[in-house]
Amino acid sequence: MDTDSVLIERSVYGRPDAFTEVVRRHEVAVHGFLARRAGRQVADDLLAEVWLRAFAGRGGYDPGRPDARPWLYGIARNVLRLHWRADRDDAHHAVTDSHDPWDDVVDRLDSTAQAGALLPALRALPPDERDVLLLVAWEQLTPAEAAEVLGIPQGTARSRLHRARAALRPVLARASHAEEDA
């Protein structure tokens, strides 16, 4: 089976239709990325925009990366940010408004048992650390792949992940003790 990078290269040089196979491979994952962060309806609405941007920008794909998922997540992340910005502008909020999309994410998550204890801690994390953590936990990326999505050095991604996990561990431990005591 051809790697994503082979298909993307093929799509750049004479066979644009080869790109559709890359989309078929990752469409559920990219939709999940969007849905976890913005809800199912928004994911439905934005998925095509991700494909159009990816197709338009495929000439810049690094052929040394066989798996296109981190690249696609990076594009999906940009599309989401534009969506949130437009949403905010529509709501007549100031551009400097510090609205954190995470507030909406939390509202959609299952808030039971230990997860309930985890959510406030997640909300309190610096967004940069939370981004890396969720790419690893939700998208099952390695720290190196998360770094690629975010356009940051691998070492930075590892440090952020380490700090985020360190912040969450005591919260989980307390929640476990509370359950045992109950």
Partner: protein, 71 residues
């Protein structure tokens, strides 16, 4: 694998609360159809572009437009 990459309870729990249902196939089809329009446009447009650039070399073919996710 570094310690930071080992499976851990907090990551497992996060993964669990981040579960979402798979998308409706109609949604996937619609998104693919939109992409197909762009693909078809480029395939047709490419023919015109080749005709236009014949004899001058296709300088743009080797150029790389980068879309970087950015921070």
């Amino acid at each position: 694998m570094t310690p930071a990459e080992h499976p851990a309870p907090e990551l497992d729990l996060l993964a669990a609360i981040g579960q979402v249902d798979p998308p409706d196939p109609i949604v996937l089809d619609a998104a693919r159809e939109t992409l197909w329009s762009a693909v078809a446009e480029e395939m047709l447009g490419g023919t015109v572009a080749e005709a236009r650039t014949r004899g001058t070399g296709n300088r743009q073919a080797g150029e790389r437009h980068r879309e970087h996710p950015g921070p």
